[in-house]
């Protein structure tokens, strides 16, 4: 193991080299800028890069610092490995045999070519969300691109994506904020409400930056109200922690909308009229009243007393109340319907559903509405803008249920009623609007108005991306992902369905997955019940995984494992591409970073994107790959790759960087400086005030989509919760609320632990030490009183059993700060793989409790249900750990 450390070093203690290399952290997908110290060829320290805004201005969260041990962990996969035990299963010993890269790639290329020639749809590409930029844009999309569209395309999956990511959240953030996710404008916000979100205390989107900004806001007196079943990382920093039954955030948000609009009479009517479809006229059947000539939705011009298309520049003022006749048909402005509809969501109703006292809901609604200062303005850099220093955000926990989409829209309604959307102080999307670097005007992307006047997202990629609007019409699915049916989905969970065979057969999809290629993505521990995952993956003929470590997925199911480079050994410009969830947000400057190796890849480790080039060449499709890159960047003739040009990954990066930032800003500049920065313009930050585009408060599009979906689904004898396809944002209870058997009296849920991302962080010794020191991270937590009533106490081994018999065992730690009707497990621990000796046996794997099937999903976005009803009792010590 010590080949790297020479005898010379042991003898003399001279420091011959002491340098700091700027690069990016790879411990979650925030990609914060870091500086890494190297002494005599050894990496010794990781610190935040104090010069960038993409991070904590010199600080860094604990797991970011700990990443050094990833680099040198002796359990790293160092050579390509082949499984020699043909049996696959949860506890199978793969009996790895070391092979050469030549042997590995020859076999992989052969099988890859075969499946792409046969039917690319039989290939499943999966990637960890943590390195999502690398694998999405450097692996999955190129692989799709080298199969031409008419041939079909490989399936894509993000591991943990179904669980840790948010389909409902991303859909709504896309439609309302043109972005991937939302955050309070901390610099100006005075009152924030979090619904199952950990902005400033978790991992993921701009982790270290939000820690910094949220701390600053707190310090200056910003009030943060956190609705969360547990008072741990997020609730622990709240001005007010409000315990809530999981999955009931929508009821609270709707009640607040009702209180604010109908009881307090507070509303940003101008915002509703011009920035939403609240002013669109709606017929009795719920559809827009459309102009006969242009098919555009109509607004009633109150001054001229006539209907006009929504973007008619001659409109003086629009109505939000009343009843009107257009072409002989009765119609009302959507907002009138919304106002009436909200009346049924009283604070008493929401209290009944959520367990939050009705007085608390009413008070917080008033505080939020008052704090929003509807009608006020602020001048920033010479621009007069609406000032709304109140923001409500929802993320992972709040949206992780079968009512995901309606819940997220409910929170967006709360924001939009007070005009808090991409204005100073309000709810911001991560930056979706860029005019580009001053010298090159790249990357350039600006949301604009599309169909029916709604926001259409843009990115600086030509291919792929987040395009929630306009919603494509559902089709009878021909794709295993079912995304051609569920067209509002971002990350499909279907590959994890326990009833996928039945579903696929019903839809008559004739082919199946025959090959899997993955990058990270430990789907056994990080999606749902492992038996379900095992069943789905054990019969797939050929599985190849690029991995840092051998884990439960590779040991049980991989045929070939390829040694991945860790972030400290990688050059890539892809992780600098923020995909609008980690660029500095608000008024902070644009910062575009690269990863660069602090030490050269050790042993035979290779970066997946670089291997992709070789694979494409081996299967004779290099021209298609080059075509992909040409389109990806929109290279002009000077920069374009020639069809048969074999460019190295580093040279491609150099070309890409120069293309984006100018000839003097190639790989050399970036290696020297780590990143490039330029100021953000107010028109970029608060783009909503400069772009004439609207967001939905009335979900008219759901009518036709719902009807079509129902037709297709019922046609094959399946059922869905079709009532959720309703244009008036509504409360629907989630699946766990409907469990009939009351003996399953607790809601089990998981939540983000600041020390952890996905399942891999459990292997890091420093993180393990912190997790052990923390009273909650490796334990199962319950409310003290509830535990007492059940006759269990701190330190007891307890079992959690779901209403369908899934069971996990762990150690109890009671909390005052937890809702009495819940039981919780942090993060994603409970490993048993041989390849993870540090992680092995620590904590408990929450995901084992989760079912994943056609029933356990949000019918609009396919978000999976992440909470389940359980009962808890004294457990058996022998059932801890899963190696049996």
């Amino acid at each position: 193991m010590n080949d790297l450390v020479t005898a010379k070093m042991r003898k003399n203690r001279q420091v011959l080299e002491d340098v700091w290399i700027p690069t990016q952290c790879g411990m979650c997908y925030a990609e914060c800028g870091i500086k890494v110290r190297r002494i005599n060829g050894v990496v010794t320290k990781i610190e935040g890069n104090e010069e960038t805004w993409m991070g904590a201005r010199g600080g860094l969260c604990g797991k970011g610092v700990a990443g050094l041990q990833f680099l040198y962990d002796p359990n790293r996969v160092n050579y390509p490995l082949r499984r020699t035990n043909p049996k696959k299963g949860l506890n199978e010993d793969p009996q790895w045999e070391r092979i050469s890269w030549e042997e590995a790639l020859t076999e992989i290329a052969e099988k890859l070519k075969k499946v792409l020639d046969d039917d690319p749809r039989k290939l499943l590409l999966q990637g960890t969300t943590i390195r999502s930029m690398s694998n999405a844009y450097g692996f999955k999309m190129p692989m799709s691109a080298i199969s031409k569209a008419e041939e079909g395309a490989p399936q894509h999956w993000s591991s943990g994506g179904a669980l840790h990511c948010g389909n409902g959240a991303h859909l709504v953030a896309g439609m309302v904020h043109a972005s991937w996710s939302i955050v309070p404008d901390f610099n100006y916000c005075k009152y924030a409400i979090y619904f199952g979100a950990s902005k400033g205390s978790g991992s993921g989107h701009s982790a270290a930056a939000t820690i910094r900004l949220a701390a600053e806001a707190r310090s200056k007196g910003t009030k943060v109200v956190v609705f969360d079943p547990i008072c741990n990382f997020s609730g622990g920093k709240a001005s007010e922690w409000v315990p809530i039954i999981p999955g009931t955030d929508g009821a609270i948000a709707l009640a607040m909308c009702n209180i604010i609009l109908n009881e307090l009479g507070i509303c940003d009517y101008e915002f509703i009229k011009w920035k939403t479809n609240g002013s669109y006229l709606v017929k009795v059947d719920g559809h827009y009243m459309r102009d006969r000539k242009t098919d555009k939705p109509l607004i009633w011009d109150s001054q001229n007393k006539q209907p006009k298309v929504y973007d008619d520049e001659s409109i003086n003022d629009a109505v939000l109340e009343g009843s009107y006749k257009v072409n002989g048909e009765e119609c009302k402005p959507a907002f009138a319907l919304i106002r009436e509809h909200l009346k049924k969501y009283s604070s008493e109703f929401a209290s009944e559903v959520s367990g939050v006292p009705s007085k608390t809901i009413t008070r917080i609604a008033k505080e939020f509405a008052d704090a929003a200062m509807v009608g006020s303005t602020i001048e920033i850099d010479g621009h007069k803008l609406p000032f709304r220093p109140a923001s409500a955000v929802i993320f992972r926990g709040g949206q992780g249920h079968t009512n995901s989409t309606q819940t997220c829209f409910a929170v967006s309604l709360l924001n939009q009623i007070v005009g808090s959307a991409d204005v100073p102080g309000g709810t911001l999307g991560w930056p979706p609007c860029s005019h580009g670097y001053k010298d090159t005007n790249k990357p350039r992307f600006t949301p604009e108005a599309g169909k029916d006047g709604f926001i259409v997202t843009k990115q600086w990629l030509i291919t792929g991306g987040h395009k929630p609007w306009p919603v494509t019409e559902p089709q009878h699915p021909k794709d295993l992902s079912l995304r051609d049916l569920f067209t509002m989905n971002s990350l499909t969970p279907v590959y994890g369905f326990s009833d996928q065979e039945e579903v696929w057969n019903k839809f008559g999809i004739p082919f199946r997955i025959e090959m899997v290629m993955g990058h990270g993505a430990n789907i056994i521990t990080s999606v749902a019940n492992r038996d379900i995952m095992a069943e789905n993956f054990k019969n797939i003929p050929f599985t190849v995984v690029f991995e840092l470590f051998n884990n439960e997925f590779t040991e049980g199911f991989a045929d070939i494992v390829l040694p991945d480079t860790s972030y400290l050994e990688t050059f890539t410009w892809l992780e600098g591409y923020g995909f609008f969830f980690n660029y500095p947000f608000g008024t902070e400057p644009w910062c575009f970073h690269i990863y660069q190796p602090v030490i050269e890849p050790q042993y035979e480790r290779r970066y997946i994107c670089e291997v992709m080039i070789e694979l494409a060449e081996r299967i004779g499709r290099l021209d298609r790959l080059n075509d992909f890159w040409n389109n990806f960047f929109g290279f002009d003739d000077k920069y374009k790759l020639k069809p048969d040009e074999k460019i190295s990954w580093d040279d491609l990066g150099d070309r890409a960087l120069k293309w984006m930032f100018g000839p003097e800003h190639g790989i050399h500049y970036f290696k020297e400086n780590g990143f490039i920065k330029w100021p953000k313009k107010i028109e970029e930050v608060y783009w909503r005030s400069f772009v004439n585009a609207r967001a939905p408060v009335y979900l008219e599009f759901l009518l036709d989509i719902g009807k079509k979906t129902e037709e297709i689904v019922r046609n094959v004898g399946l059922e869905l919760d079709f009532q959720q396809f309703t244009p008036l944002i509504s409360w629907f209870s989630a699946l766990p609320h409907k469990t009939a058997d009351e003996s399953y009296d607790l809601y089990a849920f998981s939540y983000r632990d600041i020390m952890h991302t996905g399942s891999m962080t459990c292997e890091i010794p420093w993180v393990d030490e912190a997790s052990t020191m923390n009273p909650y991270t490796y334990n199962i937590t319950m409310n003290s009183d509830t535990a007492k009533k059940k006759g269990i106490k701190d330190g007891d081994v307890i079992a959690i059993e779901s209403d369908v018999g899934r069971k996990v065992t762990g150690v109890l730690k009671t909390m005052e700060g937890q809702h009495p009707q819940t039981v919780a497990i942090a993060a994603c621990s409970g490993h048993w793989a041989k390849g993870l000796p540090i992680a092995k046996g620590k904590g408990t794997n929450f995901d084992i409790l989760l079912e994943l099937d056609w029933r356990h999903i949000d019918p609009l976005s396919l978000n999976m249900e992440t909470c389940t009803r359980v009962r808890v009792y004294k457990g058996n010590q022998d059932e801890m750990g899963y190696g049996n």
Partner: protein, 212 residues
């Protein structure tokens, strides 16, 4: 040092950065984060206390040390000279904050049974920890002294600031001279009513907490 409890999010960065900077062996901590709760459901507050050696002005560890291995520098930093420490551990007992550790084993493998990583090996060459002696936070003395030679300012210049202070992403930690009436730390203590942990111990800690 001043630690802002409102800013702290208990991310353990201070704890891990300290370990990393100082090449500490497994299971030893010079910085820790203590987690607790106060109140009863639903009026609960999570407590997060980063703790470390308080570099007390009236340090009991200095008083009890029989060899003078533990001593207080003029600038206030309390240090241990490993070469003079005989490992009697009187200081461990004397410290009411339990911030001192006795290095009682050679176990330095973070990956038990799998040898030392290049980082660990280099650490052994750069640091002189000795089995059978006591060690503790030294406010990154070696780093700071090197920076002071170059006229850098502690708490202001990164090179002259302890690792735990630099690491904090919430900017919850401040470092400077509490005997300087104009320093940032002095102003914070004064303006935000900074408090010491267990002042009744009478040791006069140099670490203060604000914004509980």
């Amino acid at each position: 040092m001043v630690i802002d409890l409102k800013r702290c999010v208990a991310c353990y960065s201070c704890m891990i950065s300290c370990k990393q900077e100082n090449f500490l062996p497994p299971s030893y901590f010079w910085n820790r984060v203590l987690i607790g709760e106060s109140g009863k459901y639903p009026n609960v507050r999570k407590l997060m206390y980063p703790v470390l050696c308080n570099h007390c002005k009236e340090a009991p560890c200095v008083d009890v040390c029989p060899t003078g291995a533990t001593f207080k520098r003029e600038d206030g930093i309390v240090l241990v000279n490993f070469d003079e420490c005989i490992g009697c551990r009187s200081c461990l007992i004397a410290c009411p904050y339990q911030q001192r550790s006795f290095l009682d084993n050679d176990q330095t493998e973070y990956f038990p049974g799998q040898g030392l990583t290049p980082y660990d090996v280099l650490g052994k060459e750069l640091k002189n920890y000795q089995k059978g002696t006591v060690f503790k936070c030294d406010f990154c003395r070696e780093k700071i002294d090197k920076a002071l030679e170059r006229s850098m300012k502690p708490g202001i210049d990164r090179e002259a600031t302890p690792a735990c202070v630099l690491a904090c992403p919430a900017k919850a930690r401040y470092f400077g001279d509490i005997d300087d009436p104009e320093s940032e730390v002095t102003c914070l203590i004064r303006d935000k009513k900074g408090f010491q942990l267990h002042p009744e111990f009478g040791t006069e800690p140099s670490v203060y907490y604000i914004d509980y």
